[in-house]
């Protein structure tokens, strides 16, 4: 089995005519956790948006190959079916749609795309309960409207809950630590760690080293001004902590 999950080559992308990613190269193998760190404006969120398929971002050059497929040619829903999951920096509120119905639609569409039969109601409810327990969500959570009136911590736990439901092969966590107190951070990180498998990989996008104390990366990249300027091991996290991003050059 080819253990390369995602290969990004010379990726250039931007928004509204402004180039933000200026030639990103990144190879992710199964079983790995990669951290992409960088200062504000480096292009971290653009990278996650392009990988998830946001229509307002334009790819001007380069490629992203996921499991041998041209990732950039797929609409967002097909990327999800193929096993990609983005945990949003700012999870979106969907008034009037309950978590249960949201997840039912998501799981149902994916199983249909995969040619699998629909889950029976009892099977779905059991899945829902098991995954809620993973992020310490209580019973009434499933009835709430998606992210409506959620605290910052609840929104991020809801992201990891959805991740658990969808069992992705490649998870991209975009600034998942922002707005979390230490207890919520621990719950979220614990959930992510328990979802790790030898077949799957995780990209942790973050400005701060804090989350990386809980989700320990195998590989660390520093993204600056649209390029990865440095790749290394965990020691890079300490280097950034001591010297700041100014001290890191390619």
């Amino acid at each position: 089995m080819n253990d390369i999950l995602l290969e990004i080559k010379d990726l250039h992308a931007g928004i509204e005519g402004r180039e933000i990613l200026k030639g990103v190269n990144l190879t992710i193998r199964r079983g790995e956790v990669h951290a992409v760190m960088g200062p504000n404006g480096a292009g971290k969120s653009t990278l996650s948006a392009v990988l998830a398929g946001r229509a307002d971002y334009t790819v001007t050059a380069g490629s992203a190959t996921y499991c041998g497929r041209d990732l950039l040619a797929l609409p967002p829903e097909e990327r999800s079916w193929a096993g990609i999951f983005l945990s949003f920096q700012y999870p979106v509120e969907i008034p009037g749609v309950s978590i249960t119905n949201f997840m039912k639609a998501a799981i149902g569409a994916r199983r249909k795309a995969q040619g699998l039969p629909e889950l029976k109601p009892a099977e779905f409810l059991k899945l829902l309960k098991d995954k809620m327990a993973l992020v310490q969500m209580k019973g009434e959570f499933a009835k709430r409207e998606v992210n409506v009136g959620f605290s910052g911590g609840e929104k991020k736990r809801n992201e990891i809950f959805q991740m658990a439901m969808l069992e992705p092969t490649l998870s991209i966590l975009d600034e998942t630590d922002s707005g979390l107190d230490v207890d919520a951070l621990r719950i979220v990180a614990d959930g992510v760690n328990r979802l790790r498998t030898p077949e799957s990989a995780t990209i942790v996008i973050t400005h701060y080293q804090r989350l990386l104390e809980y989700i320990v990366p195998d590989v660390v990249h520093v993204l600056k001004d649209g390029r990865i300027v440095r790749t290394g091991g965990r020691e890079l996290v300490d280097l950034i902590e001591n010297q700041g991003y100014d001290g890191i050059e390619g």
Binding site: G53, P76, E77, S80, W81, V92, V97, A105
Partner: protein, 190 residues
């Protein structure tokens, strides 16, 4: 139709629609008007709150997806003191359909302690569609609590992307958003 505590539903095009309703002292009416897909209509409804303490809970929804013409006029008259009216209207308009809503809340002289709220919200799904809501308040009494609001919105692309990123196909995501928009009215009928 007589005013009662029962929840009434009128499906336009299927059920007869009264032109004028009167609520006496202490009477209440919970009424929901539905204009189903494919139905064109021009209807006017006037509801009088004639006795002290009468209350009205009125809602309506329309869903126009092709070339329907819907025109709805609702007049609520507070003729006695201490009456309460709540109104919520929601419409989804797409294709080349046209939907117009006129809502007048009238508070007569002497109808003190009136509470009247009216909301009209539209969701416009295509460039060829048209909708307009004209809410009006006419108040001739003091010591009343009245408000009205009207909005026209579009499907939120952020919501759409969020749903698609979880594997919900675009058409289904749009349908869920429309359903969620209409739910506060449609849930009254089940």
């Amino acid at each position: 139709m007589t005013a009662s505590k029962d929840k009434e539903v009128i499906v336009v095009g299927r059920d007869p629609m009264p032109a004028v309703l009167h609520l006496g002292a202490g009477e209440s009416l919970h009424l929901t008007l539905i204009v189903p897909e494919g139905t064109s209509c021009e209807k006017a409804l006037e509801i009088h709150l004639d006795g002290p303490g009468a209350s009205l809970d009125l809602a309506g929804a329309w869903r126009c997806t092709s070339s329907e013409r819907v025109r709805l006029q609702v007049i609520v008259r507070h003729n006695a003191p201490g009456c309460h009216s709540e109104q919520l209207f929601k419409g989804v308009v797409s294709g080349s359909a046209k939907a117009e809503f006129d809502g007048l809340v009238y508070v007569a002289p002497g109808a003190m302690k009136t509470v009247a709220h009216q909301q009209a919200h539209s969701l416009l799904l295509s460039e060829g569609a048209f909708c307009e809501a004209r809410p009006q308040l006419e108040i001739y009494a003091d010591d009343v609590e009245c408000s009205h609001g009207a909005t026209t919105g579009y499907l939120n692309p952020e919501e759409l992307f969020y749903m698609r990123s979880r594997g919900i196909p675009e058409a289904e995501a749009r349908a869920m958003q429309v359903e969620a928009f209409l739910a506060p009215v449609l849930n009254r009928t089940v």
